[in-house]
Amino acid sequence: MLGGCVTASVDEMTFDAPTAGMRDGSLVVLGRRHAPDYDTEPDFIDCIGGHISRGSESIYVIPEQQFVDSLYPWFEPRTAPLSIESVGRLMVLPTVAGKLQELNVSYMVWIDGRTQETNSSGSMTCGVGPTGAGCFGFGTWGTESEYEATIWNFADGAEVGKMSALTSGQSYMPAVVVPIPIIAPVQDTACESLGTQLLQYFSAGS
């Protein structure tokens, strides 16, 4: 499969990076799911977590589903803390505080955003007959990803940074008998951009 072009821009505002590295704790990457018209895609969260894990052996990333299940029902869309201050209210519950201590969570990264199609045009006709099948035409569509990561430091009870990634690209599908998709890897690029920024932040000092 051929790839289309993607443009990406990343913004970062962070402070208090873990200067001693992440050897003593783990981090969890979670998706925001409380918006009425979209969910941050679970596979995007997996992609970010995987990018950080592969980038540094010293960073342990707790899988999102494992974390949310082990702390059910406190990180469901209805109950998830929207600010680091709300985590304090959760820590009052001995079972929750104990579980977070057991998981050794040092940092929590919340990702909010989505990938969506922005425009599409063109037309394609496909047919099937006894002698074979084929398509003819041309289609194109644009895709845009916009994600924001918010980092919470559990030990200090503070929000320590925000990063955002905005990527967009145009995909094409010409077809002369066989359709040839030229897909712009927009979400993958957003994952790589944001994942790399987060990796740099958590690798500081190690």
């Binding site: 799911r33 018209d37 979209y38 969910d39 895609e41 596979d43 299940d69 082990s70 702390l71 059910y72 029902p73 406190w74 469901e76 869309p77 209805r78 109950t79 519950l93 001995p94 079972t95 929750v96 579980k99 989505r114 969506q116 099937v128 007959g129 006894p130 002698t131």
Partner: protein, 230 residues
């Protein structure tokens, strides 16, 4: 071209292929979608409420099914069976949320077990939406429950020695709403997405139940003195 197509419909191996493809296309376009909700549900991380609770799952609850016959609208009909998942979910949640839970199935169970109250959940409504209807790229499920807490004695039909819900007068009765959604995903079928949205709705029902139970009128007083008759 048309002649060759017609020829292929009348005889030969390509006719079989054509008929098969045509039949498959027809079945896909007109058939209904059936989802039997299936998922795994985590045990809640809570300090158990110090009461002994009986639980009655009625046959309507155990076999709950949402049926949307859309043939009149020219759309695909849906059948979403939530009953098995409901029982599985509440059977995981309740024993973790209350100190002692007994599942009541008969008059003898009521006679045998000494419980402070009996919990009777009922599904009042379930609705669904798919991107085809809303133009929003999420699949959604809404659930509305009618939850009741009743004294054990009220469920006993002492004449017939049976368990009866006909004349019960709950000391606490409240509605509970739940919502689940899941985004569209590459290579994910409508049925898989509706299943996932239903699982999310059940999880949300549990989250709503746990976080609101202590504030329900009628429950607050009962929790202060569960063994005293209401």
């Amino acid at each position: 071209m048309v002649e060759r197509l017609l020829d292929s419909m009348i005889s030969g191996p390509s006719a079989k292929r054509f008929y098969t493809l045509f039949a498959l296309a027809l079945i896909t376009a007109c058939s209904s979608r059936e989802v039997i909700v299936d998922g795994s549900f985590p045990t809640p991380l809570v300090d158990p409420v110090p009461v002994s609770l009986g639980v009655v799952f009625t046959p309507e609850f155990r076999e709950h099914q949402l049926v949307d016959d859309a043939t009149g609208r020219g759309e695909v009909s849906w059948s979403v069976s939530t009953g098995v998942a409901q029982v599985q979910f509440w059977s995981t949640l309740l024993p973790a949320f209350f100190q002692n839970v007994v599942f009541i199935e008969s008059y003898d169970d009521l006679e045998t077990y000494d419980v402070d109250a009996v919990f009777v959940p009922e599904i009042a409504d379930v609705q669904y939406a798919i991107p085809l209807y809303t133009n929003v790229k999420v699949y959604e499920i809404w659930m509305r429950y009618r939850l009741r807490l009743v004294e054990p004695e009220q469920l006993k039909d002492n004449d017939k020695k049976t368990l009866s819900l006909d004349n019960m007068q709950p000391f606490a009765e409240w509605p509970l709403t739940a919502y689940g959604k899941t985004p569209t995903a590459f290579m994910q079928s409508d049925s898989d997405a509706v299943n996932l949205a239903a699982v999310m709705a059940l999880r949300d029902a549990g989250a709503h139940f746990i976080t609101s139970f202590g504030r329900v009128p009628g429950v607050m007083g009962w929790l202060e003195n569960p063994e005293e008759s209401q």
